[in-house]
Amino acid sequence: MLAYILRRLLWTPILLLLAAFFVFFMGTVAPGDPAELQLKNRATPERIEKLREQLGLNDPLPIRYIRFIGNALQGDLGESYTYLGKSVTSLIGPRLWVSVQLNIVASVIALTIGLPLGFYAAKRQGTSRDPAIVITMLVLYAMPVFFTAPLLILFFAVQLHWVPAAGWGGMFSTQVILPALTIGIPGAAIFVRHMRASTLEVIGQEYVRTAYSKGMSDFVVNYRHITRNALLPILTLLGFTMAGILGGSLIVELIYGIPGVSRLALDAIFQRDFPVMTAFVLIGAVMLVLANLVIDIAYTIIDPRIRLN
């Protein structure tokens, strides 16, 4: 087990370096000369050449990559092309925090709806409730956010006036409810699906039958024997939820007018602000890889049955 953890710890930085190289390479393939883009209409061939030299764009690729990595390690991801003089980190930082908050609330919603419902469906297998839950959740899962978001706003904000229609006031304000539901409901569907499957798997095990035949109460078997074991595979899923933080809420943030990463990311794409764009992808990759690393290691510790060679 220790060897496995060590191997994972060694591989992670290499993986991140490779991922960073890929992102860096895409940035160089990207159209548009950074110097020209920064100078905008003041660009003359001489000025461009001077700025290229200043920015180190004339250096060979490997040197620029090493410099990129060195800066990135110090938290410097370059300067934005569109917001002149602003560092990418200072642009992304506050917006990223907003998106993370939104996604935390969404994940809590997804888990609190998804896990009990999945467990319940599995326990009711063979009755009409199980397929009813599964199909309802699948309908909600397939529902595009382009529709869910305006529908929720129309109903809960415009019609019933229960919550504000849009905007942002932090993760403890009422404004977070609708966008978090929009992201959380399809997320819940995924948890229902996996929780149901893994509960079914555990229910079929002999130790569950033994527990029942010992005369243990339904509650104790459910809690101590079934749920605890069924939750283990769900842990892996949490890593994918982390992955969704940067990408999954893009559209939702747009529709609800939330000052998260979405607006910035899209502006970066359309204004060809490649430092911002690549920084996004890189931060996303770092978050995903680290989340998966932590989860994999936690897994080997929590589940003693796992013996990795």
């Binding site: 393939v29 699948l138 990408g247 559209i251």
Partner: protein, 334 residues
């Protein structure tokens, strides 16, 4: 690891007779017989077939030209002339939806054949069978790609590659005299296809690799090797047929998400370019990229709901089909 020959059912959804009670009539007929018992799956398959057929037959069943604007009849509700109404520019929504489906159909099918089926399956076969260095290289490349959040990687690829691909296409147009390469939409398909490629092959590769790792130790493969059967023949004749079932399941789950990726890319303006219709472009245009979603849904719901209903149905139905196929084909897998 389950091969495709066993027939016990894990019993999710509808109850059904177990395999021994069926007359012996070949694996795929048994599979079909079991699939047919799942009513919801059959309905889903029919709906998907109809949607795809609408897309393929778009040029025949269109009632207008998808570019034709009628400024005297904008934002009009459904009537006998425009079955689903008209949009902001007076274009026929029904016609545009049908053409949008065609775009989705073309993109999902080409991406799947090149990415998942061709690249993914071959890489998986090679990695699983030869193991060692080849496996390490293929798997590590896959790991690097899967280190990125899906949608961000797709967006980055589409945004950086498009200008390059357009440039190449224009050069080809200039040097060969073929015109309309860029305007025909082929460039869009290429951009989306390439952007989706890195993601589409890896899942399939890992799946096939896992199966092959188990199968390569099977006795019949060992026997084939002992008789001096050539490696390609072992791979494609002996191993591949036993991997088909999980591949089919993976494809049916994957098509929905590939279709959704195209819709999202086009919604952001990075996929299919107007005037060519795509479901994502339609949703993006109607809602001004999300800004006016609420007022559109309130005032002109048909404009938003027409493209969304298709996306919704497609994703839902493919998932139902995937679930059913999973139960029918891989009774004890996962």
């Amino acid at each position: 690891m389950t091969t495709s020959t066993s027939g016990t059912d894990s019993g999710t959804g509808d109850s059904e007779p177990t395999a021994p009670s069926l007359p012996h009539r070949g694996h795929w007929r048994n599979v079909w017989a079991r699939f047919r018992k799942r009513k919801l799956a059959v309905v889903s398959l029919t709906i998907v077939a109809i949607i795809y057929l609408l897309g393929i037959l778009a040029p025949v069943i269109q009632t207008h030209d998808y570019q034709e604007t009628n400024l005297f009849k904008t934002q009009h509700g459904p009537d006998s002339e425009n079955w689903l109404g008209t949009d902001r520019l007076g274009r026929d929504i029904y016609t545009r939806v049908v053409w949008g489906i065609q775009t989705t159909v073309i993109i999902t099918i080409t991406t799947f054949i090149t990415g998942s089926l061709f690249l993914g399956v071959t890489m998986g076969l090679v990695a699983g069978y030869f193991r060692g260095k080849i496996d390490a290289v293929i798997s590590r490349i896959g790991e690097v790609i899967s280190a990125f959040p899906d949608i961000l990687l797709i967006i980055l690829l589409a945004a950086t590659l498009r200008p390059r691909i357009v440039e190449i296409a224009r050069n080809i147009e200039d040097s060969t005299g073929i015109s309309g390469l860029v305007s025909s939409g082929i460039v869009d398909y290429l951009v989306i296809g390439i952007a989706l490629l890195p993601l589409s092959w890896f899942g399939m590769m890992r799946l096939v690799r896992g199966q092959v790792l188990a199968l390569r130790e099977a006795e019949y493969v060992e026997a084939a090797r002992a008789m001096g059967t050539s490696t390609p023949r072992i791979l494609f004749r002996h191993i591949l047929p036993n991997v088909v079932s999980p591949v089919i399941v993976a494809v049916s789950f994957g098509i929905g998400s590939i279709a959704l990726s195209e819709v999202i890319l086009s919604f952001f303006g990075l996929g299919v370019q107007p005037p060519r219709p795509s479901l994502g472009v339609m949703i993006g245009e109607v809602t001004a990229r999300g800004n006016t979603s609420v007022s559109v849904l309130r005032d002109h719901p048909e404009q938003l709901l027409a493209p969304i209903a298709v996306v919704w149905l497609m994703i839902f139905c493919w998932n139902i089909i995937g679930d059913a196929l999973n139960d029918v084909l891989n009774p004890r897998a996962r």
